[in-house]
């Protein structure tokens, strides 16, 4: 028995639109359009198909086309009190995966890369490729689906994904305090976010209601704590650093900042200095790009590692 493509016409039409030649770019909702280099002018731009393909709440998995907005997905999952780890900031599912940035509740929701179970993309040859598998645990073959997360559409255009969902905790609560965020991180068992702007700390608690109350009570024991409507507003630039580095970093480099404690994401007024790949990693990166997109037709101008 050979695997045959059970790919619907929508994906096939998308593959045709991508085609096998000429430069082409893909857009989601352009919420992260400016990241990683500017698109070569004159490139034609398409977008991924959208729509829910299949949702099995009892399996805790959902399959959607990449052009679906994260918001639509969330609305659909909310009916069954479920959610995914994708961040919703107005973008599409495909965009969120292509960018690979995690939600600010990463401690509670998990990371984007862990959510992707199966993925279909259209290759530079204009073919639909399937990778991963539609179950929650899988080590069958190479992890192409991991490679696609955060690859900014430079290896293939994401068409459809199967994501792991999780139960949405019954109770969620933002609190605000001036306590040392390090102490909070060590005290709490599983906060879903701890954000710190250098003076104030916001903590997002979630879980079974009595657990949330207990954690809240635990914090009130060591300092003054207030309930809060929301978390802080986030500056525009995103940094990625080892979690404890935030305490030693020269704050003037960042301007106003909000750091995610225990994670290492920092939102700051100033952009992070360019991060470099080591030589061997760069070689692999270049070879990877050559393998998947020999003529550099996919998202030309976007660049993750300075390939030529």
């Amino acid at each position: 028995m050979k695997a045959t493509l059970k790919i619907d016409t929508v994906l096939n039409r998308f593959a045709e639109a991508v085609g096998p030649s000429l430069p082409i770019a893909i857009e989601g909702n352009r919420t992260r359009w400016g990241l990683n280099g500017l698109l070569k002018p004159g490139t034609s731009v398409i977008s991924a198909p959208s729509g829910l393909v299949e949702y099995k709440p009892e399996e805790m998995i959902v399959t959607v086309r990449a052009g679906t907005t994260v918001q639509e997905l969330d609305t659909c999952l909310a009916d069954h009190r479920q959610r995914t780890s994708l961040p919703d900031r107005g973008g599409t599912v495909g965009g969120a995966i292509a960018v690979g940035h995690n939600d600010l509740h990463k401690l509670g929701k998990g990371s984007v890369r862990d959510a992707v179970l199966q993925l279909r993309y259209v290759s530079a040859e204009g073919k639909v490729i399937t990778c991963g598998g539609p179950v929650v645990k899988n080590v069958t073959g190479f992890n192409l689906h991991k490679l696609m997360v955060g690859s900014f559409g430079t290896l293939g255009f994401i068409a459809e994904v199967t994501l792991r969902t999780n139960p949405t905790p019954l109770r969620q609560l933002w609190i605000q305090t001036s306590m040392d965020p390090k102490i909070i991180f060590d005290t709490l068992q599983r906060p879903s976010a701890i954000l710190w702007d250098g003076t104030t700390t916001w903590v997002h608690l979630e879980g079974h209601p009595p657990d949330v109350d207990a954690q809240y009570a635990l914090l009130t024991k060591s300092g003054k704590v207030y309930e809060s409507e929301t978390g802080p507003s986030l500056p525009a630039h995103r940094w990625s650093i080892p979690p404890v580095d935030i305490f030693s970093l020269e704050k003037t480099l960042m301007g106003r900042f909000v750091a995610s404690i225990g994670v290492g994401t920092v939102w700051a007024e100033q952009p992070q200095e360019e991060r470099k790949l080591d030589r061997a990693t760069l070689t692999i990166t270049e070879r990877m790009k050559k393998q998947f997109d020999p003529t550099s037709r996919l998202n030309p101008g976007r660049n993750l590692g300075n390939w030529s």
């Binding site: 645990k137 009595p210 650093i241 404890v244 070879r287 393998q291």
Partner: protein, 492 residues
Amino acid sequence: MSFIDKIKNLIKPSVFEDVFVAELVAALSPERVRFDATERFLHSHDSSVFDEGNAGPICFPITTREVQTIMRISEKHGRSIVARGAGTGLAGGAIPLGAPVVVVMTKMNKILEIDIDNRVAWVEPGVINLDLSRYLQPFGFHFAPDPSSQQVCTIGGNVANNSGGPHCLAYGVTDAHVLALEIVLPDGEVATIGGLDPEPVGFDLRGAFIGSEGTLGIATKIAVRITKNPPTVRTLLLSFSSMRAAAETVSAVIAAGIVPAAMEVMDQRITIAVESFVGAGYPTDAAAVLLVEVEGLVDGVQIDASNIREIGFKHGATDVRVAETDNERELLWKGRKTAFGAIAQIAPDYYLHDTVVPRSALADVLEKVNEVAERYDLIVMNVFHAGDGNLHPLLLFDAREEGMLEKVHAAGAEIMRISLDAGGVLSGEHGIGIEKQAYMDELFTTEDLNHQNRLRYAFDPQCRSNPGKILPAGHSCADIQSLKNVPQGVWG
């Protein structure tokens, strides 16, 4: 044939091998390079049932630099390499094909750094999984992936196979717990992939490397995430009078939106075998038992535990027992984790399968698996990571019986098809190795496999790292070529 090759053919092939081995010896040390028949025989096997291994020289490096040198010497001589951890792989990942250099990582077994603030530990790949968790115990942390072989398998092996374990249901498999890797590429270059920061720059090469079964290079340092020990743990043991009832309970727990830390099922035969080894008080008269663990804060644990209990009874549980002490809990887990080994009490050989199916299909698939076993007149036992639909049907047999192996393989193939038909995949944690290559094209198209090979190629353009694995022949780049590179008869 080139002129040089012609000359080479005139000279006895062993001469080249002598030079090759001599270079390895000079680079490491005589005690850490072996090429005698005994060592080669031993390193041609792992825990799998495959017999076709053929090891070349065996090296025991102790530093990254030595691994680099081994890679470079091998490249120079056009030879392939295969990394080996504790050799507990079940899909034949560490079995050397075509007399490659076997690079045994067990002597690189230092825990290099524990960084509690960043929740990271840097380890060498030969560190045994359980040793790390034990080391972390006084700090109140552990390494979450806990394969049943955790007392012996290496973290390098875990990375290569993206291993799972009972507690990966809530925490995720190895992939979710590895932040960065130092790897030596087949050409001897060192790359550090991933990072301690949450969104490292560039492609997720770490994600590509994990689960690649040693085909992309050798991991020489690993940064793993360490996980805080939960304040409360509750272990429940549910007994059932049918396997269907147990499987349906599992699906119902998941459907109710509860994700326990672990959910494991054992059938009656396994339970009896295990109980006679550990004496943990497993009910030997139940048709199936379900071991569930919930952990977290005390109230939530209480709520989840009592919900699970209720769901269990609703789906036909005959008894629900809660482990009262740590000791009781440890014994129950010891039983679960030694289950495969305990099989030999029943038959001398077993073939352990590993497929994943949607959790709602568990009960049906298990019934079909039993039908297959019956048809082939084989004993089948089931012990599996039920929470994530990861089946482990074990076929028991005596390899000394004529025609037995063929029968077992045929039955195994049917089990795989049943799983695929139910919407599942070929392997949940043991990997493809040489075991399931032939089935890859039932899950993937030629084009899909071709793309997987591209990923491989980017790391290892000559396909010298663990050739002949994962991708079926015809889909892997230069595999065939590197398998042929060994002079005939030298290592035969």
